[in-house]
C-alpha cells in the first residue's frame, strides 16, 4: 500500500468540500494531478493544491492507496465520499459527511466528526475517535434506503438520528446518544454503550438496538418479552429484550412475525 500525505497549508475562509479526497480519485495519479483535483468553497472551484501540500505517492488502485490528512481540517466536508477501497486517516476533527455513501475501505478520524457521518453507507469501516453529532449512518433525506452495510464506530458521544432508515450494517456509539436511534429502520444493528435520552426504535420495522446504559424515556411501543444473554461488541451481557415498535407494520418470515428488538442491559 502506498501513502499520500496531504498537509493543510491554507485555511479556507468558509468551508471546503473535499469530495475529491478519496483513494478512488487519488489512485494512479501523480501528486501534481492530485493537487489539481477540484474542491468547492461556495461557488468558487479551487484545487486541492490551493489548500494542501502533497507528499508520498498514490497506489495503482484505490485498495492500494492510503491518504493521511494533516492539519486542522474541521472546516472541510465530504472526506471519502463514495469511496470503495483504501484508507483515509484524518489527524484532526473533520466536518460533515465523512464517508458519505461509502462502499468500502477504511476511514479514521482522530478528532470529532460533524453531522451526516457515513450516511447511506454500504460497506467499509469508519472510526471516529472523538464525538459525532447527528445523523450517524442515517439515510439521505427522503430515501428509505439508509445505511446498508459496514461498520461505524464512534468512541465518543453522538446526537440524534443514529441509523435512521437503516437496513443493514453496524453502528457503535461508545458514549451517550440523544434521541432517535434506528427510527424507521428495516434492519441493521446499533450499539449504544452509554445512555440514551429516548426514542429508540420508533417506527422500526426490523433491526436490533443494544443499549448498555439507560433509556431515559422508553417508547410505549416496546414490550419486554425475555431476559437473554447476548454478545455485544465482543462482550457478553445479560439483556432485557423488548420487541417493537408494536405501532409499526411488521413483516413475517415462515409464518413468524419479525419484530425489531431493543436489548437493554439488565
Amino acid at each position: 500500500m502506498e501513502t499520500v500525505t496531504m498537509t493543510l497549508v491554507q485555511h479556507p475562509e468558509l468551508y471546503l468540500e473535499c469530495y475529491s479526497v478519496t483513494p478512488d480519485l487519488f489512485a494512479g495519479k501523480s501528486l501534481a494531478e492530485i493537487a489539481d483535483l477540484p474542491a468547492h468553497e461556495g461557488k468558487i472551484v479551487w484545487k486541492l493544491g490551493d489548500f494542501f501540500k502533497f507528499d508520498g505517492k498514490s497506489g495503482a488502485t484505490a485498495a492500494e492507496t492510503r491518504i493521511i490528512v494533516n492539519g486542522d481540517v474541521h472546516k472541510m466536508k465530504r472526506f471519502g465520499q463514495q469511496m470503495t477501497a483504501g484508507e483515509i486517516l484524518i489527524n484532526s476533527a473533520a466536518d460533515m459527511y465523512v464517508g458519505c455513501w461509502m462502499r468500502g475501505g477504511k476511514i479514521t478520524v482522530k478528532g470529532n466528526a460533524d453531522a451526516f457521518l457515513g450516511i447511506a453507507m454500504e460497506g467499509g469501516e469508519i472510526t471516529v475517535e472523538g464525538d459525532a453529532t447527528n445523523h450517524v449512518g442515517s439515510a439521505y433525506r427522503g430515501d428509505w434506503r439508509g445505511m446498508s452495510g459496514g461498520l461505524i464506530r464512534v468512541k465518543g458521544k453522538a446526537g440524534n438520528d443514529i441509523g435512521t432508515a437503516m437496513t443493514g450494517g453496524t453502528i457503535i456509539i461508545e458514549g451517550d446518544a440523544f434521541i432517535h436511534v434506528l427510527t424507521h429502520a428495516d434492519g441493521g444493528t446499533v450499539i449504544i454503550k452509554g445512555d440514551v435520552e429516548g426514542r429508540v426504535g420508533g417506527q422500526m420495522v426490523k433491526g436490533d438496538a443494544y443499549v448498555l446504559g439507560k433509556i431515559l424515556y422508553p417508547l410505549p411501543g416496546f414490550k419486554k418479552v425475555a431476559t437473554v444473554e447476548k454478545e455485544c461488541d465482543g462482550q457478553t451481557y445479560t439483556f432485557d429484550q423488548y420487541i417493537g415498535d408494536l405501532g409499526e407494520r411488521k413483516g413475517k418470515k415462515k409464518g413468524e412475525v419479525i419484530y425489531g428488538n431493543i436489548y437493554l442491559k439488565a
Binding site: G42, K43, A139, K223, G247
Partner: protein
Amino acid sequence: MPKVIENVGCPYCGCSCDDVRVTVSDDGKKVLEVENVCAIGTEIFKHGSSDHRIRKPRLRQPDGSMKDITYEEAIEWTAQHLYKAKKPLMYGFGSTNCEGQAAAARVMETAGGMLDNCATICHGPSFLAIFDNGYPTCTLGEVKNRADVIVYWGSNPAHAHPRHMSRYSIFPRGFFTGKGQKKRTVIVVDPRYTDTANVADIHLRVKQGHDYELFDAFRMVVNGHADDLPDVVADVPKEQILEVAEIMANARFGTTFFGMGLTHSDGRNHNIDIAISLTRDLNKVAKWTIMAMRGHYNIAGPGVVWSWTFGFPYCLDLTKKNYAHMNPGETSSVDMAMRDEVDMFINIGTDAGAHFPIPAVQHLKKHPWVTIDPSINMASEISDLHIPVCICGVDVGGVVYRMDNVPIQFRQVIDPQGLLDDETLLNKIADRLDELNAQGA
C-alpha cells in the same frame, strides 16, 4: 368616489382568506376600510397606506446612518455584492408572491448561492417528514364539507390563524356537515391550555417535547396493541388515549392540523413523521388526512415554486451552478449562519433580525446584509441596504399558495406609487448579474 374592491386576498396567515372587502380612496392610494378580515389582517391593509412607509432604498453610511438612494443604485450594490460573495444566502419569502419567488430562484441560480425560505425555521421539519413518509392530505374544503373529527396538534389557530376554525374546520356548515360544530368532535393536543383548547371537546395535555411517544401510543391502539400500553404516556392517562383513539378510528372523515408545537420541539421532523404514520394507520379503518398549519399566506409558495424549479422546496444550495443540492442541517439558514458558512445575507419578505435566535443574527451580521421588505423591521434596522418593495395583496397581486397548496389569486388594491414589486426588482438584479457573469467570463 371611494371604490370598493371585493374578493381580495389577505396577506397574513396561511388561511389566505380571499373574501376581504377593501374600500380605497378615489385616487387609489389609500385604504379607507377593510371588512371580512381578522385583527391582524386589518393592520396589514392599514400599513399599506401609511404615510410612514419607506418608499426609497436606503444605504447605510460609514457613520451608521441611512441615506436614500435610487433603485438603480440599490440594484447595482446588491448585484455587485452577490457577484463577489463566495456563498451568498437569500432567505425569507414569508410575504412575497410566487412571481417574486420564481425571480428569486433565478437570482440565486445566477449568483451561485443559497436560497432558503421561512419554512426553514417553521415547517421545515414538516418537509423533512414529507420527504420520509409522504403527505396524505386534502384541501380545506374537504374538511369543511366532510370532517366529523378534527385534531389540532401543537397548533393554536385561535392565535395564529384567526379565521381557520370559522372558515374551514370547526364551525362552517359544509355539504355533508350541515350541522357545523354540533356534529364535529374537536380534539386539541397541546402542553398549554390554549384558547383553541378552550373550544375543543377534548384537550390532551401532553408533556412538552414528548408528542412522539403519544403518537406511538395511538399507533399501538390502532394496530391492536392497546393491552400493551403503559398507564400513562407523555403525561396522558391510558383511558384518555383509548377514548381518543376510539373517536379517531370511528371518524367518517378526520383531519389532523399540526403546528409549531411539533416542528419546534425535540425530534422535529420525527414528530410529524409519526403523525403521518398514524394517519396512514387510520386510513386502514377510517378516512384520515393531515395538514401543516402553514404560517404565512404564501409560505407554501416558495416550496411549490422551487420544487418545480429545482426539485427541492427549501434549503437550496445552488453554488454548484449545474445542479442543486439540499440537506437541511447543512444548507439551512440558521445552521449556515451559526457555522459561518455564508458571506452575504439577503433578507427578503421576512424579519430574520427578530425571528432568528440572536446568535444567528450576530453571525450573519459579520457580512454584507441586504433587507428587501416593505416595512421597517429589525432586519432593516441592522442592514447595510434596505430596499422597500410592494406589499403583495395590497400594492401588487399575484399567485399565492394557501396552507393546503391551493393557489389563490391575489389582487392589487392600491397604487404602488413608484414602489417596485419583488419580481421586477429581482429580475433587474438577475439581469445585472447576467451582465457581470458575462463580463467575468
